[in-house]
C-alpha cells in the first residue's frame, strides 16, 4: 500500500485478555519498528525487525509482550494478559534498510489505540 497500515485503530479490552495488533509496512521496506506512545511519556521503543529477525527487542516491557514478522512484511504485536498500564497508542513504522542497518527515516502508521479496562 501507499503507507503503513495498522489495525485495529481502536481496541478496548478487559484486563487479563490477550490482544493482537497488526502492522502492514510500506512495500519493500525491510525494517519495521514498534513504539508505544503514552501521555507525557514520548515514544517508547519496543522492538525492531530487520527482515524477519529482531536484532533488538530490549524495549519489550515484559514477557507478556511479543512480536513477530513473517515474509518480511506484516508484523503482529501480541500482548498477553493485558493490564491497565498497557493502555497506550501503539505505533508501527517502517524504513528502508540494508546491510543490517536502516536509514532511520521512519514512515509511521496512524497507530492502534489500546484501552484496557
Amino acid at each position: 500500500g501507499a503507507g503503513v497500515s495498522q489495525s485495529p485503530s481502536n481496541k478496548v479490552t478487559e484486563k487479563g485478555k490477550d490482544v493482537e495488533l497488526r502492522c502492514d509496512p510500506i512495500s519493500g521496506h525491510t525494517a519495521l519498528y514498534w513504539y508505544r506512545q503514552s501521555l507525557g511519556q514520548g515514544l517508547e521503543f519496543l522492538i525492531y525487525f530487520q527482515g524477519n529477525s529482531a536484532p533488538d527487542k530490549s524495549g519489550l516491557p515484559s514477557d507478556r509482550f511479543s512480536a513477530e514478522r513473517t515474509g518480511g512484511s506484516v508484523s503482529t504485536l501480541t500482548i498477553q494478559r493485558t493490564q491497565q498500564e498497557d493502555s497506550a497508542v501503539y505505533l508501527c513504522a517502517s524504513s528502508w534498510g540494508g546491510a543490517g542497518v536502516t536509514t532511520g527515516e521512519l514512515f509511521f502508521g496512524e497507530g492502534s489505540r489500546l484501552t484496557v479496562l
Partner: protein
Amino acid sequence: AQSVSQHNHHVILSEAASLELGCNYSYGGTVNLFWYVQYPGQHLQLLLKYFSGDPLVKGIKGFEAEFIKSKFSFNLRKPSVQWSDTAEYFCAAKTSNTGKLIFGQGTTLQVKP
C-alpha cells in the same frame, strides 16, 4: 545507556517569534540525528535529519537544526513560527551501525495567532 532528552516539554509562542527546542543525546561513536513532527490529528513525519557533513541542516517548512558534537546537542530552530507550526516535536537518535532509533520525550509547541 543510550538516551535522548528534550529540555522543554511545553512551549508557548506568539506568531513570528523565534523558536529553539533543545535536544541532547548520550551516545558514543558516530550518531545519526533526527527531528520528527506530529501535527494534530496526523501521524509522525520526518522534519529533518543529520548523518554527516555540514552540521547545520535544513528541513521542511523553514526549520533547521545544528549538530554540536562537543555538546552532544541537536537543537531545532526556526526564525519565525506560524500558527500552523503548532505540533509535537520529537528528537531522535541512532548509532550509524544499528537500526535502533530512540526518541526523546517530545516537546509540545503551541503557537498563538
